[in-house]
Symmetry: D2
Subunit: 275 residues, 4 copies
Amino acid sequence: MPGSPLPPPHLFDIQCSLSYQIEDATDFLFQIHALNAMDQRVLSEALRLTPPVPVHVYADPFLGHRFVRLQAPPGELLLRYEARVQVEGRDWEDEAAETPISELPDNVLHNLMPTRYCESDLLGRAAWKLFGDLAPGTARVQAIADWIFDNLDYERGSTQSTTTASDVYLSRVGVCRDFAHLGVAFCRALNIPARLVAGYAIFDEPPPDFHAVFEAYLGRRWVLFDPTRLSRREDIVRIAHGRDAKDVAFATLFGPAKMLEMNPQLLRVPAAAAP
Amino acid sequence: MPGSPLPPPHLFDIQCSLSYQIEDATDFLFQIHALNAMDQRVLSEALRLTPPVPVHVYADPFLGHRFVRLQAPPGELLLRYEARVQVEGRDWEDEAAETPISELPDNVLHNLMPTRYCESDLLGRAAWKLFGDLAPGTARVQAIADWIFDNLDYERGSTQSTTTASDVYLSRVGVCRDFAHLGVAFCRALNIPARLVAGYAIFDEPPPDFHAVFEAYLGRRWVLFDPTRLSRREDIVRIAHGRDAKDVAFATLFGPAKMLEMNPQLLRVPAAAAP
Amino acid sequence: MPGSPLPPPHLFDIQCSLSYQIEDATDFLFQIHALNAMDQRVLSEALRLTPPVPVHVYADPFLGHRFVRLQAPPGELLLRYEARVQVEGRDWEDEAAETPISELPDNVLHNLMPTRYCESDLLGRAAWKLFGDLAPGTARVQAIADWIFDNLDYERGSTQSTTTASDVYLSRVGVCRDFAHLGVAFCRALNIPARLVAGYAIFDEPPPDFHAVFEAYLGRRWVLFDPTRLSRREDIVRIAHGRDAKDVAFATLFGPAKMLEMNPQLLRVPAAAAP
Amino acid sequence: MPGSPLPPPHLFDIQCSLSYQIEDATDFLFQIHALNAMDQRVLSEALRLTPPVPVHVYADPFLGHRFVRLQAPPGELLLRYEARVQVEGRDWEDEAAETPISELPDNVLHNLMPTRYCESDLLGRAAWKLFGDLAPGTARVQAIADWIFDNLDYERGSTQSTTTASDVYLSRVGVCRDFAHLGVAFCRALNIPARLVAGYAIFDEPPPDFHAVFEAYLGRRWVLFDPTRLSRREDIVRIAHGRDAKDVAFATLFGPAKMLEMNPQLLRVPAAAAP
């Protein structure tokens, strides 16, 4: 590839398939588009639906993540999303500072509040007892992620759609979104803004799945942490940020439908294949 | 007042005092400004702080409610907010329709999601069993408000800052914000967008206090309901709307401070007194 | 069968098989023996274990139910229990009275207390609001059983080993033991002693399973209620009574073992077959 | 005191007053008698009620603790209990062993089960992660008591009558009975039988109050632990043992009454004063 001395450091292909068996006309809200903001650039993308129902795509005016809204008729619905995404390097400095509350941007403040899945109020004393004596900054949030990895068991199917951060703090078992919720809750309890990140990820082991990690506001930017250690942070393509998983679900259904297939693949594009 | 045949239908004066004893420099986030949006117009207002610490006022770019941010030094902090506010008539039609999900505005959708205090997911079956057979529309939401009034006891001090809608559904006792949270949760469970409203209100009985009610999205507008029946909806001046009480707390403190006084007064201005 | 004008009104055969795959030496606590007390008489019974590990059978000195204790070696464990049981008629009067607290027998008092699965304290107001105005007595407890049948969905697999009465009061879905726990909790909240009953039962539909119902203390005796309506009370053979399901589990395991088979059959013995 | 070379090692006087304002005839269940069993001997005692309502005293046939049942008329009720109690030395060996499940006495087994306040099932993984690697025996239970002391804040009024072990594990704050419940729950989760002990105690600081500690079954006997460190175990006189606080409440009321005074004093009798 002559003339291209600086290939993009990280280039990914997304190939995502979802299908549903629908009994009755059902409204869907999908969040499966790669984020075209922050450290990501969507180079190309395509969304196909079978049958070809009309869709409405809505981009959050603040955060930029996209919703797909559609109403599907009875029968089978197949959604296929493909994209090529360029991601900037994520070699953030290791020792960014926490930001004093008085200096937090106005639109970051709400990331301190407890939410459905992240009851930072309930976990306040526990957070301070576990992490209150550590020096503020990136290392403290890393200590949170490490504590979660060390003290929770990762078990598929161990939790439900109603499971919260305080539930898994108690039960000590969960999946990626539970791990991330606990990270968010601990951070907020310590007055560190934090939010959930949904994304595509490259895992060492199958099956392919959507991933959930969390971000803390450090050094006046959002820094990614994966307390499951299932994926390197360079191998995650963001879909959406939200207060918790309710904000960033890949699919929200209003009606009687059954998921038949979920296959969200993320593939690293070798440098040589880049245009 | 010659030449003014149509005096404003509802004119209010707010006189709100809050004071705190502060041990250590403490960050505050206040939401005490009357909303200058929707059916309200702030004619005049003044905010005074003693000592006169610098404040930063931030208006939510979407909903228009205002936050006051400040950092108070040790000692006593006194906040005084005064305003005159004009409120449009709230004689909404009695039988507005629910809006199909596919026709909900994009920025209303998130009001269907469960939040920290409004676990509409946990209350789903209960909501459908109690209200699922009623005809959709205003009357159904009124039935929700009536059920709450009939089945919950209003008792000062009965709940805590961590109490949720499902808690009071179980315990059957709470205060205004608990009643409102349960209304929000039931609506969302039925796919009716709903949100919490914090405001000033005229009560029949002392003491003066901030009020919390809820709004449901009906007839493509937001309609107020007060399941406590402590105030008429014409006697409420909105401060803020939010997903739940965490979004609209009149004061959020980051530091060791103690409230000394809370006196939020709302007074109806007689027509003759209007300018 | 000439000369036998009065055959035993209810005669049952129990054929119960349980098997486990055991990894490591595991302690078991079984409660599978038919109760030989109250309105039941065990005419004959046999317990066989393969391999033939030694067992210790312990009868509760108060209530008479029996525990089997054993330690099983790695490998497969097969338990087979067979019994013929005679059950007196259960055509209790329909309108027995509740007993004033001051007249309750000493050893019945503890059946008023909340337990792990039956949080009658949490459900106090709800119970009084739902059933407090009904006339005390059998009809009130029947109203409780009816309310549970009408307001909860019976769904296999909908609950877990940690699910409590207040959980299902909230979620409105459960299995037989959840239904029974809610009945117990409501009764205790109303100061009616109540307890859980585990037993064998004849169901209209397969698969065979252990059953859980509840008993309330009415007319100075224990009266059975089945809020699932899955079985007639004449078609239940008691195994044990307890404060809640933790007291009467058919099997409690201390070690890494997996259940392979559970087949508790109850068969009505035709009058002609009786000896 | 010639001829008495061995004065009783520990001699105590109990002076306990309770009074209530009663609206309507109210049933009471008191547990305030010193236990006359295990390592305690009641040398003398007197119970006086004003007005002198008839009482029924019931001793649990297994554990020996005593209940007082009475019905009080409207007006004021004053209960006064006085006793002199001799307590054996509690210098148990420091390194008793845990008992294998297969060797536990039949009547101790139920102390492994979760109860209303001690949800050992919910805390199972946490208990094993925190204490599972420690060597079994007294030192492990002491490590549990130490962990509770180190990780929970003792704050009067911080919890309610519905607060459980898992609640305080989460909130990290409570009073003596919460500390004891968590100790019980952790032990049971590790298959160590444990129970709550209510008693009189000598505290360094006022006010006098009933105390709650816990016992674990070690070395084939019950060994006391006080995770609050508010009292030495030699300075506790047992009232009752139970599965949790519901079993051993000093007063259970069935009716509208208000406590006016609670003054349970324990005084050490100097050796010279002994008869």
